[in-house]
């Protein structure tokens, strides 16, 4: 991938990190999708690589093109332009049933007239697997997802979580190279969702199959994935490990969509000095752009004595404190900028108290807004 061609966001996508196994299971190269009779692309110039054995999350708000991307990998939609490779083979034009991929659908899509065991066994029907082996693989798959004993039930006799497990068993039974999951926990309540998250993660580790997992829940993506891609308006804004995406966001969208952050408008003058309103900022590196935003995570803002000696230190005034139980959020005004910071919950600070704040140079992450940079 050369950095000077493609979309403005494409420029920002870093060269893929060194993979864990070196073999790619999925490669999307410059893939776009424009649905018939629509104007805007649902997916625009997406390039990404998923490595073998990875738990890869596609994260983005509703309508950002996650499902469309997933459906192009599965073969339900054909890219308008671009190329889809599975295990190195170009499958762009292959129908779903000729791809070594299985999907867990958003609403499970269990066959309503088939019992659990028949639903799970269905993929084996097309893979010339004998009766005895089918039976043993079905019970193994059901055992893995904790659904032993439900073989004779019909889908409508199961709860949402149980249906999800059956759908998962069906996706795993033919031992595909890749399993795609489209917001599989979206319809479940919070408690169930958390226990299913653990189960999914454990399962993925046990079977060693590559998972591509679509979600709009940033917490879920951060907690579960080995790597994730953040999508917005059909484009990938950033790909990377959860900590990397969290601490080193590339775009304003990524910075604000994942976790809470302080985004301040900043500019660089000819001497390389960076100013954000009344604040002179010290950054670890000199940014290339002249106009940009700086993202500072609240938890990297140090307070009072701890702030002394940091690369950036300022005097501010506490405007408001919000008690969150395990911690306390402070809204601090610094030279006309309002910053969100965090303190331990036992720290008591009245509104109006002067306070010293500071953060290291590395805490300032330069982010850009690709929409503003677009030609």
């Amino acid at each position: 991938m050369s950095p000077d061609v493609g979309s403005p966001v494409g420029d920002l996508v870093p060269p893929d990190r060194v993979s864990r196994s070196g073999r790619s299971v999925v490669e999307l190269v410059g893939v776009s999708k424009v649905y018939p009779n629509t104007r805007d692309a649902a997916v625009a110039d997406v390039t990404l690589t998923v490595e073998e054995g990875e738990f890869f999350a596609l994260l983005g708000p509703s309508g950002s093109g996650k499902t469309t991307t997933l459906r192009m990998i599965a073969g339900f939609e054909r890219p308008t332009v671009g190329c889809v490779r599975l295990a190195g083979r170009d499958v762009t034009k292959l129908p779903p049933y000729k791809r070594d991929v299985n999907t867990v659908f958003q609403n499970y899509a269990l066959f309503p007239h088939m019992r659990v065991a028949d639903n799970v066994a269905y993929p084996l029907k097309f893979r010339s697997v004998g009766k005895a082996e089918t039976a043993s693989r079905v019970s193994e798959a059901l055992d893995r997802v904790g659904m032993t004993g439900f073989e004779r039930r019909l889908p409508h006799q199961l709860s949402g979580g149980q249906r999800q497990r059956v759908a998962l068993a069906r996706a795993l039974i033919s031992r595909p190279a890749l399993v795609l999951l489209d917001e599989p926990l979206g319809a479940l309540d919070l408690k169930l969702r958390q226990s299913m998250q653990l189960m999914l993660k454990r399962l993925q580790r046990e079977v060693g199959i590559t998972f591509v997992y679509v979600t709009h829940d940033q917490g879920e993506a951060l907690a579960m994935s080995d790597r994730l891609a953040v999508m917005h308006d059909g484009r990938i804004h950033q790909t990377g490990a959860p900590d990397e995406v969290y601490f080193r966001p590339k775009t304003t969208f990524v910075a604000s969509f994942i976790g809470k952050t302080n985004l301040v408008d900043a500019e660089r003058d000819a001497t390389g000095a960076v100013r954000a309103g009344g604040l002179a900022l010290r950054l670890a590196t000199t940014p290339a752009a002249e106009q940009f935003k700086v993202s500072i995570r609240p938890e990297s803002i140090l307070l009072a004595e701890a702030a002394e000696g940091a690369a950036n230190t300022f005097d501010g005034i506490v405007r408001e404190t919000i008690f969150l139980g395990s911690e306390r959020e402070l809204i601090v005004e610094v030279s006309g900028q309002t910053l969100l910071a965090k303190a331990a919950s036992n720290v008591v600070l009245e509104a109006g108290t002067p306070i010293r704040v500071g953060w290291p140079a590395e805490a300032c992450v330069v982010v850009v807004d690709p929409a503003e940079q677009a030609p």
């Binding site: 009779n37 459906r71 779903p96 299985n102 066959f111 007239h113 033919s174």
Partner: protein, 301 residues
């Protein structure tokens, strides 16, 4: 009975003594429905049953119980042959209509995209054109001097008009099929339309080709609707007398035509009633048998 209020909205528990009174009020509120069933369903059919056990004596009805009409009807070669023919014609027309409507509905649901609803409506629109017109038009098309013969002659395919196009069993089947297609289509289309598209995707995902998807998933889930459509077609065609009278000729006479005759020129109401009862019983038995095919455990939500 556990319901505490005559209005299903309420849920206030009443003391035991009030229950009988409440039940009385409920029956009172339901009385229009009960009256309706009594006056429009039970009494007329009971009287028809009664008539079928009376006899006709020179235009007046002798009110004495006898099974003579049934033995006469069932032993008569004409009635037996007509019953058989009517049954076969109705089954054939309903089957052909189903065989036409199913693929059409499938094609529209799967391939028509945003033209799905207009194309479906276009199939149903003929139902809103006069029934007589729909049947009679086939006489214009298939007659000896009809449109089809005219076209064929002009095209030089034939020298002389084909007479056999009209007034035959086949004509009746064709016309009844024509009448039945929209009903069957409606039943199948709404069922196919209700199936989530994710089911097609899921089957493809499991490795099923389009044909396997159809055979294993779509057909089992839409079969009940196809059967119901077939049954509707059967009920419509089995008791029809307009079509055979217009396009059937002698070859295409059906049981309905005989009833028409018994209530008309022959003026033998009891015999007509007996034949009508036969039609009623045969259609109910047949529909009961067919409905076994429509049973399914699947619940689509």
């Amino acid at each position: 009975m556990s319901a505490a209020s005559e209005w299903s909205g309420g849920a206030i528990e009443e003391p035991l003594g009030e229950r009988a009174k409440a039940a009385g009020i409920r029956v009172g509120l339901a009385s229009p429905a009960l009256l309706w069933v009594l006056l429009i369903v039970l009494i007329p059919n009971a009287i028809m049953l009664l008539y079928s056990f009376w006899t006709n004596g020179l235009g007046t009805i002798i009110q004495e119980f006898t099974t003579k009409n049934y033995s006469q009807a069932l032993q008569s070669n004409v009635v037996r042959a007509l019953l058989q023919r009517t049954f076969l014609i109705a089954v054939a027309a309903s089957l052909i209509a189903t065989a036409i409507a199913y693929p059409l509905a499938y094609l529209i649901v799967r391939r028509a995209g945003r033209y799905k609803l207009p194309l479906a409506l276009l199939v149903v629109v003929p139902l809103w054109v006069s029934y007589l017109m729909r049947v009679f038009a086939w006489k214009i098309i298939l007659g000896e001097k009809g449109v089809l013969n005219g076209l064929l002659q002009q095209a030089g395919v034939i020298d002389h008009p084909i007479k056999a196009l009209l007034y035959s069993k086949v004509t009746v089947i064709l016309t009844l099929t024509y009448v039945a297609v929209p009903y069957v289509f409606l039943s199948i289309f709404t069922a196919l339309e209700r199936l989530p598209t994710a089911l097609y995707d899921a089957a493809g995902d499991c490795g099923a080709s389009e044909w396997s998807t159809f055979r294993d998933i779509i057909w089992p889930l839409s079969r009940p609707a196809a059967v119901i459509g077939f049954a509707i077609a059967f009920v419509i065609t089995f008791g029809d007398y307009v079509t055979p009278a217009l396009v059937g000729g002698l070859q295409g006479t059906m049981l309905g035509s005989i009833i028409l005759q018994e209530f008309g020129t022959a003026n033998n109401w009891p015999l007509g009633a007996a034949i009508a009862m036969v039609i009623l019983v045969v259609s109910f038995v047949f529909l009961g048998a067919v409905s076994l095919l429509a049973r399914t455990e699947a619940v689509i939500d």
